[in-house]
């Protein structure tokens, strides 16, 4: 046993290994990281879903114009005029006969000639992001083109988009809660470790150790432990998320699996945990030292 060997990492060794608090800290960090991965996965998947749904819906609506053959053209023009003047309407398209036939084919079968039928004229509306005021539009249409009916048929999907957004919120709130709980637990674990090691701190102070020496020893220990635990928990959580069986047919939640830049968020978990541990332990150590001369 040479002095040199003994000196290396000495500041660390003065803190007793304290098996259980160590394991508790590591386990807490790991479990919380694991849960954080899940919450994050849920949140990101919900976010992706919400985006996909909103873009897929493409926010369309239809105006159906039923009028005597003579008035049809005039009313169609009136509708287009009204629509183009409506805020929230991005694009207006008057459907051609061929378009309409394609739409009706599933119902009436192919080979049907629309010429012979009093088929209503359809006008497709692409909403802008803000959307339009359906009630106001209906009133104006009624005034300008009495045969026009606004069919707001895509609106039914909006609750789904809202739900996905809520799901994302829920995931984010959970992730934040988990982070806060982790911080609190690590603070308490550090406090409890420091309380258990009051005697050690006293001895160190009495033989002339500076505060910084003592704090370093504890902070180092706890930060490393938390980092280790969080790394493990993140790895396990990611494995679980990646191994989750994909649903049969490309449905919603296909993708709890992270995509592209999302990896970044997961990689943040261990360093953020370590940072939380660092700050928590430092504060706890400063608090503990205050009572010891």
């Amino acid at each position: 046993m040479t002095g040199g060997r003994r000196l290396k990492g000495a500041a660390d060794r003065v803190v007793p290994p304290s098996g259980f608090t160590a394991r508790l800290t590591q386990f807490t960090a790991a479990a919380m990281a694991f849960l954080a991965v899940f919450a994050l996965a849920l949140s990101l998947a919900a976010g992706r879903l919400a985006e996909r749904w909103s873009s897929e819906l493409a926010r369309t609506a239809t105006v159906r114009i039923s009028a005597p053959a003579g008035q049809m053209e005039a009313q169609t023009e009136a509708v287009v005029r009204v629509l183009e003047a409506t805020p929230g309407v991005a694009r207006v398209r008057v459907l051609s006969a061929a378009d309409e036939q394609a739409l009706l084919e599933p119902w009436l079968g192919p080979g049907l000639s629309l010429e012979s039928l009093p088929v209503p004229q359809l006008v497709e509306i692409i909403e802008s992001a803000e959307g339009f005021d359906a009630t106001g539009l209906r009133l104006r249409l009624q005034a300008e083109a009495p045969g026009a009916v606004l069919d707001d048929h895509s609106r039914w999907r909006q609750p789904l988009v809202a739900a996905a957004a809520r799901l994302r919120m829920l995931g984010l709130v959970s992730a934040l809660l988990i982070a806060a709980a982790t911080g609190a637990m690590i603070t308490l674990a550090a406090d409890s470790a420091l309380a258990a090691n009051r005697e050690v701190i006293r001895v160190l102070r009495l033989i002339g150790a500076r505060d910084s020496y003592i704090i370093r020893a504890f902070v180092h220990r706890f930060t490393l432990r938390t980092l280790g635990g969080a790394l493990l928990g993140t790895l396990l959580g990611m494995s679980a998320v990646l191994l989750l069986p994909g649903p049969g047919g490309g449905g919603f939640l296909t993708g709890l699996q992270p995509q592209g830049a999302e990896w970044f968020w997961y990689l943040l978990i261990p360093p953020v945990s370590a940072l939380v541990a660092f700050l928590a332990t430092r504060l706890a150590a400063l608090r503990a030292l205050r009572g010891i001369t």
């Binding site: 046993m1 040479t2 002095g3 040199g4 003994r6 000196l7 000495a10 060794r13 003065v14 007793p16 290994p17 005697e199 050690v200 006293r202 001895v203 160190l204 102070r205 009495l206 033989i207 002339g208 150790a209 500076r210 505060d211 020496y213 001369t293």
Partner: protein
């Protein structure tokens, strides 16, 4: 080097000392006696800045204790070797590392020969790798003394260092302290062991202080 002037102190409520003064000069040798509970340990704790007086001034190595920062106190403590009455150690480190701990804390490198000579002197060579809880009562006290002197401190303060040690070993430890004193170190020992005081007085010019009625007296010739 340590100077107490008109010190008062008392734990919550009662007053243990009122206006006592004392000076530990370089090369001096003091004994502190008094009945159990008189305040010997308390007085020593004031000397090594573990307690702050409620009245009066203490100066250590020329600096007023009240004006010292926590780091100043840590630095001053490295120049004082203390044997605590209850011999505290880090229970997870072997005896030899505990004894070398003051060096480590001061970022100084222990010299293996010195360490081994010191262990031999206190009779712990065979127990160097034992953990403190595996030591006998007397072995703990000897280890504590070894830790107190390893930094070659300018002042050595020992609180009841021979309470659990047989007479033969006590004399040997006294020998070590006297030798250090001859090398210029100041020594302050609290003890109720009159034999120890008598043995010391035969060999060095030691002053004996006694705490009585909240004051410090020079002990009479009965010793």
């Amino acid at each position: 080097m340590i100077e107490l002037t008109d010190i008062s102190y008392g734990y919550d409520g009662g007053e243990l000392f009122s206006r006592i003064s004392m000076e530990i000069g370089p090369g001096s040798f003091h004994f502190l006696t008094g009945p159990s509970g008189a305040g010997k340990t308390t007085l020593l704790r004031l000397c090594y800045m573990d307690l702050m007086p409620s009245g009066g001034r203490i100066s250590v190595f020329g600096r007023e204790v009240g004006a010292m920062s926590r780091d100043d106190i840590a630095a001053a403590r490295r120049r004082i070797g203390v044997v605590h009455q209850d011999c505290r150690f880090l229970d997870h480190l072997p005896v030899i590392e505990n004894i070398a701990l003051p060096l480590e804390v001061a970022a100084r490198r222990p010299e293996p020969e010195n360490l081994e000579a010191l262990l031999a002197w206190v009779g712990l060579s065979a127990r160097a790798q034992a953990l403190p809880p595996e030591l006998s009562g007397g072995e703990r006290q000897r280890a504590a003394l070894a830790r107190a002197v390893i930094m070659s401190p300018e002042v050595i303060i020992a609180d009841e260092p021979t309470g659990n040690i047989d007479w033969e070993m006590s004399e040997r430890l006294l020998e070590l302290l006297i030798e250090l004193n001859r090398m210029g170190r100041a020594v302050l020992i609290a003890t109720h062991d009159l034999n120890l005081i008598r043995a010391a007085k035969a060999r060095v010019s030691a002053r004996v202080l006694r705490i009585r009625d909240r004051r410090l007296q020079a002990a009479g010739a009965e010793l």
